[in-house]
Amino acid sequence: MEFYLAFLILFIGVWGMVSKENVIKKIIGLNITNSAVILFFILVGHHYGSTAPIMEKGVKDVVDPLPQALMITTIVIGICLTSLALALALKIYRKYNTLNISRIEKLAKDE
């Protein structure tokens, strides 16, 4: 069930990227897509009834720690990408005075 939810969130993100004309909304869509994949990964390493992988006395049935470690890397990469994308969006706005992607493409072509 949860896996399907992760895929649903993925589709919402992709839909946002495809259908929205606003550049910022596209970036938000990208973030949602990224988060969906992160959720999926966490689910892969997760089993019901397990505890956090902090190895103390008496702790058994821990979840797989590797996906969580990987996802920290992915989150960092996602932040880099978002900030870079927003910086580019800012530059685009200063250049063309609009955030609508179709208009930006038209203006760039006529340049």
Binding site: V23, L88, E105
Partner: protein, 553 residues
């Protein structure tokens, strides 16, 4: 000796950090350039040392990061394929840096991101851990987004944004594929995945297919095959020239080699055969757009996609001969495409114009730029005795059993010849009534010209002595023996390439007529934007999944 792969990644990374450090308070242009150049030269020397181990003793140098065993930790493998792509990458990076020194418009940030780009490239090639590969892909991509937008012009920023959005979507898909693999076999090491992630070992075939499709489409956006190529012409066309040369020459091919590695490890034969069709269409379709371009660098960028098609199609066949042809074309294309980008960059540098309708009769003004770019054009059009002829002949020979892809490749070659005749008219045609004022034309720096001459000599030599390179690639890198000695300079092969050239001239004559010009104008106006590009990614994911279901071929 085993830590060679680690050094190949660490050295450019260290150079990047050093560049940032020494420029923190006061910019030192000379020192910055020296550091970035020497880091690549040191990498090349290290690769030279490892030649004995890789090629002659046929070892694979393995370095396990942090001392963990391969199953758990990240391991770096330097095998024949990695050695090949790593050294060609380092060579082209060296040429690009030498070129960038002479343009004199780059600050230290350029060299910083350039070194990061090289780090990412080496990492993708060397790593044997699939998540690590994702990370290096992101390092490579983030550096290239910034370098593409380096000129801060509107078109460049737009191209960079287009590339960022679409390739990040690709990264998410790739990551999802990695997640499915991890769910299926609980390991991220490529060796272990190859052993356990297969249909025979209990992975459901639809899951297997979904994983392959996600990975292929995710990385395929960076390898730019049809229909995931729409970001490339703008990005490579409006990037600074040394970056265009590196991206076109190496980066897209390295992305494809990652697909190559994963597919051959997972033994997905169906998907591999499907690349026959993807490749032949990738070779053909961009040529139509390339013919219609008026921007000299964008024309070259379209041809990068088309030439990728040649590499992909021969990967799809999968025989020893075709794989050799594929890698040979990899090598040749990186040389002649960087030669062409550098010479067109020199034209833009000296005249300040990039529209080929406004350039004419440049042969007299800059013969030393014109001759190397003519050599580059002859190479890419596959005229003997240049290197493009050799690798294309190898590919065409191995395609004999598949008539339709062979026909597509043939048409693509005709279109390539025609569009390079169109491009070379900026040197060969007579001067127009209103020539460029003579004062406005700067002189190309000597280093640039030496660079162009070096690259054209390489193009010529690797065309004249093909058997030696073919032998190195097939016996030492792919570790496969070719079935029989191939005669490349046979009468029929030369005849075919001359036929292609003559047909190319006819096609050129056609597109310069009034009717042809109208058609090209229509084609030029139909450049799909970002939204269509994203839709095509989803569509190609579904198509790839459906068309490569096992048991279809």
């Amino acid at each position: 000796m085993n830590n060679i792969p680690l050094f190949l990644i660490i050295i450019p990374l260290f150079a990047a950090c050093l560049i940032l450090l020494i420029n923190f308070f006061k910019p030192h242009p000379g020192l910055t350039q020296l550091i970035s150049l020497s880091s690549i030269i040191i990498s090349l020397i290290i690769l030279g040392f490892s030649t004995i181990h890789i090629l002659i003793e046929k070892q694979t140098l393995i370095y396990n990061l942090g001392g963990w065993e391969e199953l758990v930790g990240i391991s770096l493998h330097l095998d024949g394929l990695a050695w090949f792509s790593s050294s060609s990458g380092a060579i082209i990076a060296l040429f690009s840096l030498v070129y960038s020194l002479k343009e004199k418009i780059y600050q230290y940030k350029f060299y910083f991101f350039f070194s990061i780009l090289v780090t990412g490239m080496q990492g993708v090639v060397l790593t044997h851990d699939i998540f690590n590969m994702f990370v290096f892909f992101e390092i490579l991509s983030i550096a290239s987004y910034i370098l593409i937008a380096y000129s801060q012009e509107g078109k460049a920023i737009k191209a960079s944004f287009h590339y960022l959005i679409i390739s990040s979507l690709g990264a998410s898909l790739f990551l999802l594929g990695i997640g499915l693999i991890y769910q299926g076999c609980g390991s991220l090491s490529l060796t272990q995945i190859g052993k356990t992630f297969s249909i025979e070992r209990g992975i459901p075939s639809s899951m297997f297919q979904l994983t392959i499709s996600l990975i292929v489409v995710g990385i395929g956006i960076r390898a730019a095959f049809i229909p995931l190529h729409l970001w490339l012409p703008d990005a490579h066309g409006y990037a600074p020239t040394p970056v265009s040369a590196l991206l076109s020459g190496i980066t897209i091919k390295i992305s494809f080699l990652a697909i190559w590695r994963i597919i051959s490890i997972l033994e997905a034969i169906n998907s591999q055969h499907f690349f026959l069709w993807i490749g032949s269409l990738t070779a053909l379709i961009p040529v139509i757009w390339a013919l219609s371009q008026t921007d000299i660098k964008k024309l070259l960028a379209y041809h990068s996609i088309s030439q990728m098609g040649f590499i992909i199609v021969s990967f799809g066949i999968g025989s020893a001969l075709s794989l050799t042809g594929s890698l040979y074309h990899f090598l040749n294309h990186s040389f002649f495409k960087s030669l062409l980008f550098f010479s067109m960059g020199a034209v833009i540098y000296t005249t300040g114009k990039r529209d080929l309708r406004k350039l004419s009769g440049l042969f007299k003004k800059m013969p030393w730029v014109a001759v190397p770019s003519l050599i580059g054009a002859l190479s890419i059009s596959g005229i003997p005795p240049f290197n493009g002829f050799v690798s294309r002949t190898l590919i065409a020979t191995s395609l004999k059993k598949y008539p339709l892809p062979l026909f597509f490749i043939f048409l693509a070659s005709v279109g390539t010849a025609a569009s390079f005749i169109k491009l070379m008219m900026i040197f060969l045609s007579k001067e127009k009534v209103k020539p460029l004022p003579h004062k406005k034309i700067k002189k190309a720096p000597k280093t640039m010209i030496y660079l162009l001459i070096t690259l054209s000599i390489i193009s010529l030599l690797s065309g004249i002595f093909p058997s030696w390179i073919v032998k190195v690639i097939s016996n030492f890198i792919l570790l496969k023996d070719l079935p029989s000695p191939i005669k490349i300079y046979s009468f029929s092969n030369i005849g075919k390439s001359l036929l292609i050239f003559v047909l190319g001239i006819f096609l050129y004559k056609f597109i310069t007529t009034k009717y042809g010009k109208q058609i090209l104008l229509r084609i030029r106006d139909t450049e799909p934007g970002l939204n269509n590009s994203l839709l095509l990614v989803i569509l190609s994911l579904i198509l790839f999944f459906i068309l490569t279901i096992p048991g279809k071929y």
